[in-house]
């Protein structure tokens, strides 16, 4: 799967892939976070590179659900793979409205309760197990198809994972980005607060996937720092049933083809002994 926020809203995915390649290599497309109203996103700078990682603070820039359904979703569906819409809300009601809007329109939903880049709501959902219980339960009543919850890697993550299972989520995505900070300028001090992704965090999210997949029975979808087939295999071996690729798409738009090929080769035991990355 291509992770949310790292391939836009599909406007130009086909500049980089043949349709056939998409079908053969990508299990599902998880859209950029979509909110009820359009969001302009945060002021620049929005991106900063850190050692082996990337901090982003996009702020869920998106056209809002109405415009998304009208002008983006049809195109994304035309790629011919399952479409999972990542939902972003600040209140439970917003998530419910979004789920309602998408009934019959998408193959699955991914509830983003973990975006570190928006002031209100977002991240705090993931600290508050009562709200998450209510959220999952109520969305589940509206949405009968595939429902995943995207967890934050910080906060009471094991507890939240169990709640998702209990209230009927079909899968949890482990995980979103890590709250991080970069200093852009010393004097006057200018900082960027955002979420850290990329290879730097792979050992951390891998650990979470390992622990969480021992605690719950619904599938865990691993997501964090995958840039190679070897990384993907590690997630699968540590308990993930599927995986998403995020930052790597920003480095090379066609990376998923490379990852799938490497993963197949590894699985075929062709190069099981090589750990070089």
């Amino acid at each position: 799967m291509l992770a949310s926020g790292t391939w836009g809203l599909g406007e130009n995915l086909d500049n980089f892939f043949a349709l056939k390649e998409i079908k053969e290599n990508i299990g599902a497309l998880v859209t950029k976070g979509v909110s009820v109203n359009p969001r302009k996103g945060n002021l620049p700078p929005r991106i900063f590179e850190t050692p082996c990682g990337l901090i982003n603070s996009i702020g869920i820039e998106n056209p809002g659900i109405k415009e998304f359904k009208r002008n983006y979703l049809p195109r994304i569906k035309s790629y011919g793979v399952p479409v999972i819409v990542n939902l972003y809300g600040e209140e439970i009601e917003e998530f419910l409205e979004l789920s309602q809007e998408l009934r019959g329109e998408a193959d699955g939903l991914e509830l983003n309760i973990s975006c570190p880049n928006v002031k209100k709501g977002g991240l705090f959902f993931s600290y508050d197990s009562k709200t998450v219980s209510k959220l999952v339960k109520e969305v589940r009543e509206i949405w009968k198809d595939f429902l995943a919850v995207k967890l934050s890697p910080v906060g009471p993550v094991y507890e939240i994972a169990e709640i998702c299972e209990k209230y009927g989520a079909d899968a949890v995505v482990v995980a979103n980005t890590y709250p991080a900070l970069a200093v852009l300028e010393f004097k006057p001090l200018k900082i960027l607060q955002g979420g850290l992704s990329g290879p730097a965090i792979k050992p951390l999210t891998l650990r979470l996937v390992y622990e969480i997949s021992k605690k719950i029975r619904i599938p865990v979808i691993g997501c964090g720092g995958i840039v190679s087939g070897k990384d993907a295999l590690e997630y699968l071996l540590c308990g993930a049933k599927a995986f998403q690729v995020g930052t790597a798409n920003l480095i090379d738009p066609r990376v998923s083809i490379k990852i799938i090929k490497e993963l197949r080769d590894l699985k075929n035991g062709l190069c099981c002994k090589s750990n070089s990355s």
Binding site: N12, N15, F16, R46, I47, C52, E61, P199, D252
Partner: protein, 257 residues
Amino acid sequence: MYEGKIVFNKKEAKNIYLLGIEIPKNILKKFQPGQFLKIKINQRMDPLIPRPFTIHAIEENIVYILYQIVGKGTKSLSKLRKGEVLEFLGPLGKPFPKLKNYIICAGGIGIAGFGFLLQKSANKRNFYPPETIFYGARTKEELARLSFLKRFGIPVKISTDDGSKGYRGFVTDMVEEELKQTPRTVLACGPKSMLKRVAEIGKKYKVKTYLVMETFLACGTGFCMGCVIPLKRGKYAHLCIDGPTFLAEEIALESLS
């Protein structure tokens, strides 16, 4: 990503290098002046993200990049040698607008993209040549590719902050002087402070002013929405797909400071 072999990577001026990469002609054919490539600097993960560089010139099956060393990526790039292979993506971004009767204002490494424009306009390939190129740098040592630029028979007017070559002062002073006499469209690339000044001058003399902007890019492909340039009326443009060249009057001034 494509692969290309390095055929040239040498110092051109103080802190400025010229890189030549051999590329299959069918890819080269698509390149337009004003577009850029995203170059993966090494095969390891630090630096992680490929860096964007304007297409500086094309000769046969070689694309040239003119780059300045500013940080870890460009420093590592300057260490690569002939024969090594680079991965890159491109062409990305929109070409320069097709202007007539215009002048160029370049500050420092901002000169990079105009080499290709001169080449294409000399060949009458959709682009018209500028009437004058105004090119400023801090010192004589930081001026790059002068003999290449002069090859096209278009006046190249130099300024240096310290007067070590050409006019002593800012390149924008020369541009203002020029526009005062003959108002004309300006296409400018350089540091933010220069672009800001060009925007002011353009406004003053009521000429169309295009600015080639810069920001940190992650994807360069419209995927991440990380590269926004604030426009007037609270809107955002995405540099990597809507730019890098923008009409000055559309840009919110705070993005130039």
